[in-house]
């Protein structure tokens, strides 16, 4: 985990240094003279060797000092702190939708494979996987906000504001989770111990949930963890569609105005969040299957 985060910070550091042009020139105002630029270079430590610059960057990072936004001069940490919770709320809500809908669809499909219910659910799952999230979001706005007027089209505040973005963002992950749950459940349901459970008279619901689902969960949890990454990436797009004041929009706006301290911090934080999710998933394996132990 720690080496991984170090690697991530190194990649982001190098990426930002790869930007063509002199960073000191970018930081100084456009009317700066050569002396001004030299002054900026000294002040920001840009005249020092790269490994030392990285050390300083890392030290600042650990103290939560991410620099100042070039565009607004506000400390980056303040900007991020204002936006991060919104993204987290959206991501968790979307994942809840995805796990609820996708998991249920997968289980129902697996209990009646090749029935019309299964076929319908799998077609829907494929639609969810193939439809671009921003388009799905705009179509939902068109239907539920413009035509029916049931839900707000943009902004954040009440629970009603959360419905459309969460459904939009969750639909892709729901499709993937449904497909994985179905196949994983079908695998387990053909095992001998399921037949044993049925033959000794265990109720079908208990067979499905107690015996099958528990054993089918590991691959599903893996997919859920991976989907969280896709979801964080998708949040960038969905936040733009619904004017959701999260980190994704902050990042896109920063890229467009070349506000690199913000870009750097946002990308780092997204990657760190994803790394934490992956760690959580790894720990869940041990909980789900006591045979898996970590030294």
């Amino acid at each position: 985990m720690v080496p991984l985060l170090l690697g991530v910070s190194m990649v982001v550091f190098v990426l930002i240094r790869l930007i063509p042009g002199d960073p000191a020139e970018l930081l100084a105002s456009q009317w700066a003279t050569a002396e001004d630029i030299a002054l900026v270079r000294r002040a920001w430590g840009l005249d020092r060797p790269l490994p030392i610059q990285y050390g300083v960057f890392l030290g600042n990072l650990l103290r939560g000092d991410l620099g100042r936004s070039v565009a607004s001069s506000v400390p980056v940490s303040t900007e991020i702190a204002a936006r991060y919770p919104a993204t987290l709320v959206l991501a968790v809500a979307s994942m809840t939708v995805a796990i609820g809908v996708g998991g249920a669809a997968g289980i129902i499909s697996a209990r009646r494979p090749y029935s019309w219910l299964d076929n319908g659910a799998m077609v829907l799952a494929l639609v969810g996987v193939s439809a671009p999230a921003f388009w799905a979001g705009l179509m939902l706005i068109l239907l539920f906000s413009v035509i029916l007027g049931w839900l707000p089209a943009s902004g954040m505040g009440s629970l009603r504001h959360l419905v459309l973005p969460a459904v939009t963002l969750g639909s892709v992950a729901a499709g993937v989770i449904a497909r994985q749950t179905r196949s994983s459940m079908l695998d387990v349901l053909s095992q001998d111990y399921i037949r044993t459970a049925r033959s000794k008279g265990v109720a079908e619901a208990a067979v499905t949930y107690r015996h099958a689902l528990k054993n089918a969960l590991i691959p599903v949890v893996t997919i859920v963890g991976l989907q969280f990454g896709t979801l964080l990436g998708g949040s960038v797009v969905v936040e733009s569609v619904f004017a959701w004041p999260g980190m994704g929009r902050l990042l896109v706006d920063a890229v467009l105005v070349r506000d690199y301290p913000i870009v750097q911090a946002a990308v780092l934080l997204f990657a760190a969040t994803f790394a934490c999710i992956n760690l959580l998933v790894d720990m869940l394996y041990g909980l789900l299957d006591p045979r898996i132990r970590y030294e």
């Binding site: 790869l18 671009p132 705009l138 068109l142 990308v267």
Partner: protein
């Protein structure tokens, strides 16, 4: 000999193009055939865009702004009076190119890193795989956005960014394949015969990685097209007036209330294209590797 003739007659003579088991499996799969049909149609549309499109994709006509679909303009016109259908037809060219080029970049670099690192072992393997692990810990779209941030928003940079973001997937896949293949006896035999490493990798190991790589690539084209459209939508990919579907959608959304067709139709184009690649890829996987299909159950 006798039994062999017997089985031949029992199975009946198949035409030459059905001799192949994979092809037969593929052709039995209706969804896969639908996917292949969609892709064929798309490929033809993209190739002959100039002939098929009823109008010039960039010809503005301010007398015909934001018109709803009509006989003259089957899908209506956009905010500059350009024919939407023609723009979508030319957009197929851009999206398919984007998909194939970025997957090509990811496939080549990822395979090279995965194959050489794993085959060599030792510190080369260690360093390359740590690097891949670090890249994998970025959500792919965000890595692409980060790269676009550095290189500047444009169609070409979006292709490169998405390609680089796809690289770790291939490196991981190839690593798994090479790890098992390099212990095979025919590889050992080749080495005993004095074949050098490059020859073993290129002639003996990589050809055996081909079918999983083809399957993965088909599915990756779908995700590359989605990512490219997302970048275009965010203004980080193709720039106006390029008729790229994502960029068209982002312009169209400004008129969502008055002209929803500007948003709806480019999205349908993206959706159908991605669906085509997904159906085709799923079918290919089932046909080329039945074990994989059973394991993934997809």
């Amino acid at each position: 000999m006798a039994t062999r003739i017997l089985t031949l007659t029992a199975a009946g003579r198949r035409p030459w193009w059905l001799q192949n088991r994979a092809l037969r499996t593929f052709l039995r799969n209706r969804a896969a055939k639908a996917g292949a049909g969609i892709l064929l149609l798309l490929g033809l549309t993209a190739t002959f865009a100039g002939t098929v499109a009823p109008h010039e994709p960039l010809a503005a006509d301010l007398n015909r702004m934001l018109q709803v679909p009509s006989r003259a303009h089957l899908l209506g016109t956009d905010e500059l009076g350009r024919d939407l259908l023609s723009r979508i037809i030319f957009g197929a060219r851009i999206s398919l190119t984007l998909g194939f080029v970025s997957v090509g970049i990811g496939l080549l670099t990822g395979t090279a890193i995965g194959a050489v690192g794993t085959y060599r072992g030792g510190w080369v393997d260690l360093v390359s795989m740590r690097f891949v692990d670090v890249l994998l810990s970025f959500p792919p779209v965000l890595l692409a956005i980060g790269i676009v941030a550095v290189m500047g928003p444009s169609l070409y940079n979006a292709m490169i960014a998405i390609g680089v973001a796809q690289m770790p997937v291939y490196a991981r896949l190839v690593r798994g394949l090479v790890l098992s293949l390099k212990e095979q006896q025919y590889v050992e035999a080749a080495r005993a015969l004095g074949a050098h490493d490059a020859r073993i990798l290129l002639r003996h190991i990589l050809p055996n990685c081909l079918s999983p790589l083809i399957v993965q690539s088909t599915l990756q084209v779908a995700s590359a097209i989605l990512s490219a459209a997302a970048l275009g939508f965010l203004g980080l990919g193709a720039q106006p007036p390029t008729p790229e579907w994502g960029a068209m959608l982002s312009k169209g959304r400004l008129y969502l209330r008055v002209a929803p067709h500007l948003t709806a139709f480019p999205g349908v184009a993206i959706f159908v294209t991605v669906l085509g690649f997904n159906l085709f890829g799923d079918g290919l996987r089932d046909a080329l590797d039945p074990r994989m299909a059973v394991r993934l159950g997809l």
